[in-house]
């Protein structure tokens, strides 16, 4: 084993195929997008080089600015709305409670469903005429709302299923992390008279920081590049009220036929995700814990 790991040639042979696929499928498109973002181009006609004009125009584009704001709101909402409940569930589930496997599966089901299925489900729930939510309000004599048509409500209504869907995902990541903490530590704590919440805050959370960082990274990056559920639910509307950068990128390229401007949004999304990744790496320092 040590012989293989010490062999640089073996490393190369194993990594090279994956690297080639990754380079062609991920890296080259990003570079090409970078090139497109400097053009004024409708996709089929002449390409006109405009330098950074597309990026400058974006800063003056109200729809783009509000889409960035929305995605940052979603990132914060995801951290609060996903990671805290996920941590809570993970800690409880990992304490060898009855029916651990069943609960774990139940909470994970939304992650397994296609986002389009969830989107269609919530479209029906939110429908102003026959939706379940308005019917529920009707029971108490309250007036229903046009959840996805009202610019003040749409953001909350669209973000709810997005956040709800991935609670189970983060729960599973954190649960795996907690299961990696040796049982002896908890036994020792119990002998010393620690209660459950003391064990959670003094032992579990400090010991799974590296797993929490993984979760945090996924939650933030996932929010910044979100596309599918917003597209199914609102297409960014009404009046750009639920727009996120990736939906705006799609309509800019395929409805407005502005390939340059759309590519500029794509480049922005890549840069924004990288920035947040490095910020998390920098400010969420984790010591490598070994048991």
């Amino acid at each position: 084993m040590d012989k293989i790991l010490g062999n640089k040639k073996a490393y190369f042979i194993f990594v090279f195929p994956a690297f080639v696929v990754y380079f062609i499928m991920a890296f080259i498109p990003i570079i090409i997008s970078g090139y497109y973002s400097t053009l004024e181009w409708n996709g089929i006609g002449e390409k006109l080089f405009v330098g950074f004009d597309n990026f400058i125009a974006l800063t003056k584009n109200d729809a783009f600015m509000s889409s960035v704001k929305n995605s940052l709101i979603l990132a914060v909402a995801s951290i609060i709305g996903q990671l805290i409940p996920a941590m809570f569930l993970a800690i409880i589930l990992s304490r060898n409670i009855k029916g651990e496997g069943i609960y774990r599966t139940v909470y994970f089901i939304p992650v397994l469903l296609s986002t389009v299925v969830i989107g269609q489900l919530f479209l029906k729930i939110y429908n102003a005429d026959y939706g379940a939510l308005n019917a529920f309000f009707g029971l108490f004599g309250l007036k229903g709302q046009d959840w996805l048509g009202n610019t003040k409500l749409v953001l909350g209504a669209a973000f709810f299923p997005i956040i709800w869907q991935y609670i189970g995902y983060h729960m599973l990541i954190l649960y795996t992390g907690i299961k990696g903490v040796p049982a002896e530590i908890y036994e020792a704590a119990q002998i010393d008279g620690a209660n459950e919440s003391q064990m959670a805050f003094q032992i579990t959370i400090p010991l799974i920081k590296s797993t929490m960082k993984v979760s945090l990274t996924f939650a933030v990056i996932g929010s910044l590049k979100l596309f599918d559920l917003i597209w199914v639910l609102t297409k960014g509307g009404p009046l750009h009220a639920s727009e996120v950068p990736s939906t705006l990128m799609y309509t800019t390229i395929f409805t407005r036929m502005e390939y340059g401007s759309g590519s500029a949004i794509a480049v922005f999304i890549v840069a924004e995700c990288l920035l947040f990744y490095f910020l998390i790496e920098k400010f969420f320092k984790v010591d490598n814990i070994t048991y």
Partner: protein
């Protein structure tokens, strides 16, 4: 025992990846076990987006000359659809086998929204099929400018010119050259649910004042006055379109849309004002902004809305067997607005869908013939199926089975003096997107009619 929590998470990911890759191997193995299924999967991989593909070519008959294959793309993805255009298209696809035996037409249908994206991608990659469905005017202009489509002038005989109805080529003509044949004239009119009008003692409107009275009466009775699916944005264009036609007249409004005149006219400001007031008094119900076009049509079909201003493709839905309103719908001209320049005989709509021939095709003459054949055949069949008005002169035969609403629309439009085509297709690309968003803003009350017209005018500057 030495391990980190992260290692375990990585282990989980790696094992998932292994399971996925194993599953991948499994399907490949079963595929190669039979030659047929392997071929099928290869085809499926090559054309993942095709939702309906069929090979409609006739078998080679000896002595019939050389077989030519023509590839054809369309947005008619569902062979079983009851939409009049779909029925007509698949009829044409079937009859071309016998009428043009030396041509083997391979059709690939893709649902409308994905179709647009697919076409753009094919154009960028220079992989256009020989013949493809497309919209006219502003949507088509960039393709013509880029030299991607073939002019039909060379192939259009005097006989064909004689049969094509006047004005139907306008949206396919650029710099005096015709690039596509028409196949339908779609017209928007006001669909009214006569049963709801009678039940609520409301007069079917003949003037704009009566129209507003009807709106208020239905609003008071708790019925959506006008069904509007503004979530999809384009339905709002039609509402503004008809108001602008009534206020400014078709000629002036067309001039503004073509950039030859200003949007900043008192008539268009007034049209915008009327649309905004209509929305503010609850003309579109409480939830138009969040309603999709499908839901809006469903509400009208189920008799939950009194009126709908929509294109003639709605005929089939209104007369469908599952429609609660079957037999209770009538179509009327949108009322004239007092003080406006437009008359009741100016309409929203026109001829704007066609089949284009790629300039890269290997068989230009045959491809042009296929495009012409399909358009002429569809013109008659889509009319008989109750979709739009025909664009080619033809002996219609027995029209007793014809959709009742289509006949009513044919009567309404027989003295038409002017048309304004759908605003989104007419302007195309970013201008269409700007129009749609501006009108949504107008309906939502986010900007004044003056601001609205000033914002539209930026498109012309």
């Amino acid at each position: 025992m030495k391990r980190t929590a992260l290692k375990k998470a990585v282990g989980l990911l790696v094992s998932t990846a292994m399971i996925v890759s194993l599953a991948g191997c499994g399907s490949k193995d079963s595929g190669s076990s039979s030659a047929d299924s392997a071929q099928e999967s290869a085809q499926a991989q090559a054309e993942p987006e095709s939702s309906a593909e069929e090979d409609v070519g006739s078998q080679t008959e000896p002595g019939n000359g050389e077989q030519i294959t023509i590839t054809l793309w369309s947005q008619f993805s569902d062979p079983n659809s009851t939409d009049g255009n779909y029925v007509a298209f698949y009829n044409a696809l079937e009859s071309i086998k016998t009428d043009m035996p030396n041509v083997n037409v391979v059709h690939e249908g893709t649902e409308s929204e994905s179709y647009k994206v697919k076409l753009r991608t094919a154009m960028a990659g220079n992989e256009l099929p020989d013949v493809f469905f497309n919209w006219g005017a502003g949507t088509m202009a960039p393709y013509v400018e880029a030299g991607l489509v073939l002019s039909m002038d060379e192939y259009m005989t005097d006989e064909m010119k004689g049969k094509i109805l006047g004005g139907t080529l306008d949206n396919f003509t650029f710099d005096g050259k015709v690039y596509g044949y028409p196949y339908s004239v779609a017209v928007a009119s006001l669909y009214v649910n006569t049963e709801l009008f009678e039940q609520n003692n409301v007069k079917i409107p003949e003037t704009y004042d009566e129209f507003l009275t009807a709106v208020d009466a239905f609003k008071a009775a708790g019925i959506t006055p006008i069904s509007l699916g503004e979530r999809d944005l384009w339905p709002g264009l039609m509402i503004f379109g008809i108001h602008a036609i009534r206020m400014a007249g078709a000629a002036d409004f067309n001039a503004a849309l073509n950039g030859e005149a200003s949007y900043n006219t008192p008539e268009l400001v007034e049209a915008a004002k009327l649309v905004q007031e209509l929305a503010a008094r609850g003309g579109f119900g409480d939830s138009a902004m969040g309603t999709s076009e499908d839901d809006a049509v469903a509400a009208f079909k189920q008799g939950r809305a009194a009126m709908m201003f929509m294109g003639s493709w709605l005929n089939g839905d209104c007369e469908a067997d599952d429609a609660a309103v079957k037999g209770k719908i009538s179509v009327i001209k949108f009322p004239v607005i007092e003080g406006g320049k437009g008359t009741a005989d100016e309409f929203h709509g026109g001829s704007g869908e066609t089949f284009l021939v790629s300039s890269n095709t290997e068989h230009p003459a045959e491809a042009a013939a296929v495009a012409q054949y399909i358009c002429e055949k569809m013109s008659k069949d889509q009319y008989l199926a109750g979709s739009g008005m025909p664009a080619w002169e033809a002996d219609m035969g027995d029209t007793s089975e014809l959709n009742r609403l289509s006949q009513e629309i044919a009567d309404l439009t027989k003295d038409a003096t002017g048309y304004v085509y759908w605003l989104d297709s007419l302007t195309g690309g970013s201008a269409a997107d700007t129009l749609m968003n501006e009108i949504a803003n107008l309906i939502a009350g986010n900007e004044t009619p003056e601001e609205f017209c000033a914002n539209l005018q930026t498109l012309n500057e």
